[in-house]
Amino acid sequence: MLAALIIVFREVFEAGLIGGIVLAVTRSVPGRNRWIAGGVLAGVLAACAVAVFAGAISRLFAGMGQELFNAAILGVAVVMLTWHNVWMARHGTELAGELRAAGLAVVEGKKSLLALAIVVGVAVLREGSEVVLFLYGVLATEADTGFSVALGGLLGLMLGGAVCLLTYFWLLRIPARALFTTTTVLIALLAAGMAAQAAAFLERANWLTALDNVVWDSGWLLSDSSLAGRALHTLIGYTDQPTAMQLTVYVAILLITFALMRLVGAPVKVAQAARRVG
């Protein structure tokens, strides 16, 4: 039972962290619970589908289907997160101000909710398919231990949910003024980390071979398979043996995000401020 608990918890931990951040980011958007629950549900269904077709997905692209599939869905999440940040740079003031309830903000807010619901769905899908395969394998072949494994799995899932809530409430303790900046930085780092992870999958598939040297090994300091290492891996993309390509992608995503936020966000904010003053 304990083994099942640990395996399931390890898989849902990342999804829990991401879920908590997304909940905090969308705290003031009406109807967000439905969207995020929808994202989780879609993620679970997709995870089951991926688990059923795991063998077929693996055989694609000369045996590298799984790596490329992971890289692709991580890519989707990176685009959604970056888009959210850029969108918030433009509309954040409307949402945060008294206009929060205004019709326009609600309609526009839905677009951003969709992007974040997709991010949650992708997080659940990635980790969920492994949980489904594991639990299915045990339940199908070892009926005698099935019950205790299912119980362990359930406890693992609940612990993952607890991580989600802890992240959420911890973020909500940050004063409202600082929260926007904090979540913007968190989401940018999350996106950069996911992009670096996608690069790692492409490297493993031999689709990306440039700059494949390992730049440093900080495993002695913080292994990325320890709990703290895994948390940092999800939050800021920490890995103890990054390749030059992973670092390049990481930095590039951060630069692109902040450049886009400046380009898209700044003029509108100035215009709005001017309108308010006038």
Partner: protein, 113 residues
């Protein structure tokens, strides 16, 4: 926290500029099978500083997940199917791997010489 993040970003940036390392050319291929929660052979070896390709056959009916923390590999292998696992060039050493779904019993190691 904000300061720590800024610091970690700066460190990442700085270290990103210090890029150096060995390049690998030819890949060495290793056959490995998995049955009844056991890897066969339990120990495989490969030369240092070359790419390694592990061809893994999962002969069990259940899915397994080939994982190695030191080699940075996690790969799900469906029941009764084959998988190709690319391993980047490694320094000499012993690298353990296992089936994540049966971590205690299903273990093996790659020895790089």
């Amino acid at each position: 926290m904000a300061a720590a993040r800024t610091l970690s970003k700066t460190v990442l940036l700085a270290l990103g500029l210090v890029a150096a390392g060995a390049q690998a050319q030819q890949a060495s291929e290793i056959q490995l099978s998995y049955k009844d929660k056991k890897f066969d052979p339990a120990e495989i070896s490969a030369p240092a500083n070359t790419l390694i390709v592990i061809k893994l056959k999962n002969l069990d009916a259940k899915a397994m997940e080939f994982e190695s923390r030191t080699l940075k590999i996690e790969k799900v292998v469906a029941g009764g199917s084959d998988a190709v696992i690319n391993v980047r060039a490694q320094k000499p050493g012993r690298y353990e791997f296992f089936d994540e779904y049966n971590e205690k019993v299903a273990r093996g190691a790659l020895v790089v010489k």
